[in-house]
Symmetry: D2
Subunit: 253 residues, 4 copies
């Protein structure tokens, strides 16, 4: 049974800031957002977690292994080096969607994302060390079969992007609705999902659904672990096994 | 009549690199990708252009105002500071999709994105200074009405993201198919599109289509300019006017 | 009695790389060096350590609290995201200079800094958790009295810099020769030193020596701790006490 | 005859900010400073200029080729993405020290570096395009003979650093006093100097002076150009010629 600790990272009052006193240069905003994400990717990633950029002003992190002091330090280092601050909501549950629901609710109770007085909230509790197990996380790494040949080397880049994006849109909704899992596009033709315990047959059905609905062929490697990094690295190797052996689904137990 | 110069930025042989000699830490890849994007956002952005992250291994830039030497310098500085190199394809056309088709074709002719010997291609021609006009670009900046109240402060972050993503998915396909325009999600509830000459009525129809299909309410500000930055800044102000006056579409002539 | 763990960070074969196949743009090299330093400052700093840029191609880190796995991860993340790799030598001793001597020797035994085949060495042993105490580190934070009024607001910037630099040059040599301590210029008018156990009288003499030799007036706050961050933060507060109370030396026991 | 445009970059009210409301984490400050420097190195460097980190809170840039709009854009992009702002003073003169004197005076007239109300000053005038020539800049690139063998591979890193630092300290003072030139340590065993017109014999005497006073053996390559980058790249190639041919001074006319 999985036990997922998710952290919602929310830039405080970001929307209003981007247009005060007047709209800021778009490329400066893009730079700020992507560097802030990179910052968190390193902080969380070097402690075994994962962060996904989602909407950039709201990011979702898998933080099994990070405690409250780690979260406070993350807030401090952003405050010291960026013109914005971040609030953090933490949630723990068997299903990722329930953990995120709880993480989000913690911030929502503290006020609106655009409340200028609500700054650097840290809501929710992290997992105690004693409650953690080696199978707390199930991570699936999907990619698109033949993406380079079928899309990148054949279509213009926007039409390639539309195809990949369509596959992602179908998969994300399916996993969220059927399993309470969270799937994130991570660049190229790659999608990484945080999931509750799912079987190989569940993955087969997911891939069939995407093929039927969006005409995009996926394959997937799946791993378990104590942290997102551990589970994700096993998933990556499983995906390599798919590639080499021509399989659609490899679940490492 | 618009005259759009687009540059396709493609990381050379990136997919294979990410798994050689074995899969690399995902958060390192995420950091690398987002910092590379930020790098280009500053380089292109401080010269009046725009870059969109698209799939990260392939990015689309609006480069009116950047010449061949600028493109070469961009390749040089990435080669000097990153473990990867980039190829660039440039295309010019009235419709953005045609410019991108041409930009993409330049790279495709030079070899596959995963050809290990194809490195640092620079294909295509930039606009001569004498051909440029003050209305070469039309940029539209969309956002979602009441996103904070309806989504961010109410739903869990993933369900908010799904709603925004659905609105984006419908809009991107509509603009591409109906107008040959390119729309990019840029974070939060914002979408920026590069478009051929379109009327206020065209924008009304786009917004209606998204409302009807995805049940997401958009508004849009539109600007013209010699560079993406100029057009985009006017669009941002027009969007502020929408907000203040309760309008759905403001097109600055 | 202090117990200092120092890590020498050395970019592998960097000199030759900067001119191969021909000299690289200087500002790209400066960017690469300063970003690499920033990277390590975050990695080490968020784990309680300190890094000093020294010569940039060789950097000195105070790594009490970081174990071998942390060092390996630091090498991995640099390899994944930069065009260069780093070797690390670790040394532990009561006096900082002896720790650095040992850290340096570990790398030197493995080959020359410009040996193209010597890559990603990790030499030396970190402190076992059981050997660590709350007074392993003594950190002193010096600054220049009235630097803004006397220099920055009065002289041209280069002449200000020369004065600060002269004060630093005298202090660094004095502390190294008299005490086996390591002093680093950290920007502005600030110098941070890692020292063995020294008394307030020792600090008075150091400051007198700099005043007599270089005509630069310093003050200093000193702290002890289990990590560089802990000791350094106490030193910063002690320096604030100097400022408020007009003292030259405040040593927090 | 050289015609040097220098820009003094000064972080506004930085000292007080670093200790408000209480002292900030040192590694966050180091990260902020070095990333800010890297930012400017890219901005200025990709336009043909050079920036030197000097004291980090005050940096000196060679900005021939950058106009007032470029300087304003630099201020805007920092304001948009950092928690601090910068003031800029520009000066032009035949001798670098006179240009810097003028650049510094412009900021000093506007108020103290620690005046909380003095923000984003832009003082002084840039060179008109018509006044620029192909020999406006003379850049010299020095390095230390046998630094790797004599120092890096033999001494501990701090003692290597002291030797290099001593050589630099002597050279910087000599060039400033004898020629009104500005020399900057740029990492490793490299020193880059911005100088007025100097002869090969002048360089021989400089090198002799450093050898006699600090017992450090230097060699130097010298170039001229319209921008710092052009002059500096020629200087780098000249230094390579020194290396290959065993020469101490190569001045490219």
């Amino acid at each position: 049974m999985t036990n997922v600790q998710l952290t919602l990272v929310q830039i405080d009052n970001y929307g209003p800031w981007t247009v005060t006193p007047e709209p800021r240069r778009e490329m400066d905003l893009q730079t700020l957002q992507s560097r802030l994400f990179a910052e968190l990717a390193q902080f969380v990633g070097s402690r075994g977690g994962y962060v996904f950029f989602t909407r950039f002003d709201n990011m979702v992190a898998v933080t099994n292994g990070l405690d409250r002091a780690d979260h406070e330090l993350m807030q401090e280092t952003i405050r010291n080096r960026y013109p914005v601050t971040i609030s953090l909501g933490v949630g723990v549950a068997e299903r990722p969607i329930d953990a995120l629901e709880s993480a989000t609710a913690g911030l929502q109770r503290a006020g609106s994302a655009q409340d200028g007085d609500r700054r650097e909230v840290l809501a929710g509790e992290t997992l105690a060390a004693g409650e953690r197990t080696d199978v707390d996380l199930q991570i699936a790494h999907f990619d698109v079969n033949g993406a380079t040949e079928k899309y990148t080397d054949t279509l213009n880049e926007f039409d390639s992007f539309i195809r990949i994006e369509q596959g992602y849109a179908v998969l994300m909704r399916y996993l969220r609705e059927e399993h309470g899992g969270l799937a994130f596009f991570v660049g190229g033709d790659n999608i990484i999902a945080v999931l509750p315990s799912m079987t190989a047959a569940d993955y087969e059905r997911s891939i069939d659904h995407v093929a039927d609905t969006a005409d995009v062929e996926l394959k997937v490697g799946v791993g378990h672990g104590r942290t997102a990094h551990e589970a994700g690295m096993i998933a990556k190797h499983a995906l390599e096994d798919c590639r080499e052996d021509g399989l659609r689904v490899v679940v490492e137990e």
